[in-house]
């Protein structure tokens, strides 16, 4: 016996459904071809991207010829860097340790504040009245150059690593807070549904349903922030915010290129060690 659905035999309805789900013949033919001409919107997109790049390169005075002409000067500068002068190795190590300490404290404080801010900036967790202010705050911080933030704290607490730490902490909220929030938004909904189903409170849903899932991403981004802060600490020193940056500037101003080269080599070694250690930790947690 044929069951009738909405007045039409189901068999007939099924055939109609099958026709409705078939691909348009022209689209089907296009997909079957091994090689096909790209769609016009793709070509337009590529054209627009190339035009944007040329416009930007002209505006920024980007010139390969000029780079070629100046290559000899660059070579001359590099030859002046060698041989490296490790006579002040003790001072370099001391400043690098200070830079590392700044990065550790700045990253720890930055990650904690970023996490707090991220709870407010995750659309799946925060109510609208909290979500938008948190996002705007992070946008404002992100748009401020690190050196401006550092100068602000240097004027507040004076020269030294403390100003650098404060600059790193605040700068981290803008950059990593947004990534933290997006990591929490991207977690699988399944465990959240399960937590709601057992009658868990909002705080418990976050604690057991969201944070454990986002934790590998949060840790990975924190390590990335730490690597960035070690490099960043060398720049913050330029404005007197502690670390090895100030010694770098001084060496350049005094034309002590051997000493400068020794510092650069030490920084490269430190950053490489941190990169490798971070990679090992990332592999362990993911």
């Amino acid at each position: 016996m044929t069951t009738v659905k909405d007045g039409a035999p189901v068999g007939q309805s099924s055939r109609a459904d099958a026709t409705a789900t078939q691909l348009d013949p022209r689209e089907r033919e296009r997909l079957e071809r091994a090689f096909s001409v790209p769609r016009s919107r793709f070509l337009l997109g590529v054209g627009a991207a190339v035009a944007l790049f040329i416009w930007s390169a002209n505006g920024a005075q980007f010139d390969f010829l000029k780079l070629g002409e100046g290559a000899s000067h660059m070579g001359e500068f590099l030859t002046r860097l060698f041989p490296p002068d490790f006579s002040k190795f003790g001072l370099i190590v001391e400043l690098l340790i200070e830079t590392l300490q700044m990065a550790i404290v700045g990253t720890a404080l930055g990650a904690i504040l970023s996490l707090i801010m991220a709870f407010g900036a995750a659309s799946t967790i925060a109510p609208r009245w909290l979500y938008y202010p948190c996002r705007w705050t992070m946008n404002v911080i992100r748009s401020l150059p690190d050196l401006v933030i550092a100068l602000m704290f240097v004027s507040a607490v004076g020269l030294g690593p403390f100003a650098g730490i404060l600059a790193m902490t605040v700068g981290s909220i803008g950059s990593i807070g947004k990534v933290f929030a997006e990591a929490m938004e991207a977690v699988d909904r399944g465990p959240i549904v399960a937590m709601e189903a057992v009658g868990a409170s909002k705080r418990q849903v976050i604690q057991y349903g969201i944070v454990p899932q986002a934790l590998p991403m949060l840790t990975s981004y924190t390590l990335l922030l730490f690597e960035g802060n070690v490099r960043g600490a060398t720049i913050l020193g330029l404005v007197g915010a502690g670390g090895i940056g100030l010694e770098l500037t001084t060496a350049m101003n005094r034309y002590e290129y051997g000493h400068l080269c020794a510092m650069v080599i030490c920084i490269v070694v430190l950053v490489t060690i941190i990169d490798q250690a971070s990679a090992i930790i990332r592999r362990k947690i993911t």
Binding site: T2, T3, D6, S14, V198, Q204
Partner: protein, 275 residues
């Protein structure tokens, strides 16, 4: 007693008028659900009783309203009209805090298990007691008594030896048993299992359904389970309810039903006609 509604014109088929038991643990009367004011009815006049110790299989094609019927029992679906009572609680009109208290008494088992993969099997089971845990568990610790009970429940579902492993390292069947232990951790008055074996192989499907049925029989907890495989429903349930287009099409004791009486739920006759 089994009742099969006339499978001819669905638009005119009235829901089954089976005798109703006012002592049933779950009582659903004339339930209508629509998700938006201008949306069609997802459930259209459904009646259902579930008794203690009974495992009821819910059958129906995708979109027939099975999941919505389950959601209506925990307030996750809006009740447009009709009544839904779970125990002494009328689900309609509950405030958020009351809804959370109701949900804490209803164990749920999901198709995709919904475990927190990075946490241990034991912690996943312990999350079933979250509603009763106060701020003391802020750092993720649970009381010794709860831990003991969670370990006993893992033994009950046959995977006590996996307690310390990450949930994601378990097979699908093992994960579903963890999910059942989590539901039992709630001390539930009702268990809802929404397609709990859809992601499992036939052998593991039987293990999981046998476990759910033994929970219903031995502990008296009513179990409502939605399934897609007729033989599994016929083998593992006490009663079967078949939904179609949001209405009850078939309802009866499993012993009195067979594959042919349930075929209209999935339009199987029509496919044979076409073939």
């Amino acid at each position: 007693m089994s009742v099969v509604a006339n499978p001819a014109p669905t638009g005119t088929a009235s829901p089954v008028a089976a005798p109703r038991d006012e002592d049933a643990h779950v009582r659903i009367r004339d339930l209508r659900v629509r998700y938006a004011p201008d949306a069609p009815l997802v459930l259209d006049g459904v009646d259902l009783d579930i008794h203690r110790g009974e495992m009821v299989a819910l059958l129906g094609a995708s979109g027939s309203g099975k999941s919505t019927l389950m959601k209506s029992l925990t307030g996750f679906a809006p009740i447009t009209s009709g009544t839904v009572r779970a125990g002494d609680v009328d689900v309609a009109g509950l405030r958020p805090r009351e809804l959370r208290a109701l949900r804490a008494q209803v164990g749920q088992v999901f198709q995709q298990f919904n475990l927190i993969g990075r946490l241990s099997v034991l912690t996943n089971v312990l999350t079933g007691s979250l509603h009763h845990a106060g701020p003391v568990n802020l750092l993720g610790t649970f009381r010794a008594g709860e831990r003991r009970r969670a370990l006993e429940l893992l033994d009950r579902v046959g995977i006590g030896h996996k307690a310390n492993e990450e949930a994601r390292s378990l097979s699908g069947g093992q994960q579903q048993r963890v999910a059942i232990a989590r539901a039992l951790m709630q001390n539930p008055r009702l268990i809802l299992a929404d397609e709990p074996v859809a992601s499992l192989d036939p052998k593991m499907s039987r293990v999981v359904l046998q476990l759910l049925r033994s929970i219903a029989r031995e502990e008296g907890i009513p179990v409502l389970v939605s399934l897609h495989v007729l033989p599994l429903a016929l083998e593992h349930s006490d009663r079967i309810v078949g939904l179609r287009h949001g209405r009850t099409l078939v309802e009866g004791r499993t012993a009195e039903l067979d594959a042919s009486s349930l075929a209209p739920v999935y339009d199987i006759e029509d496919e044979e006609d076409e073939g």
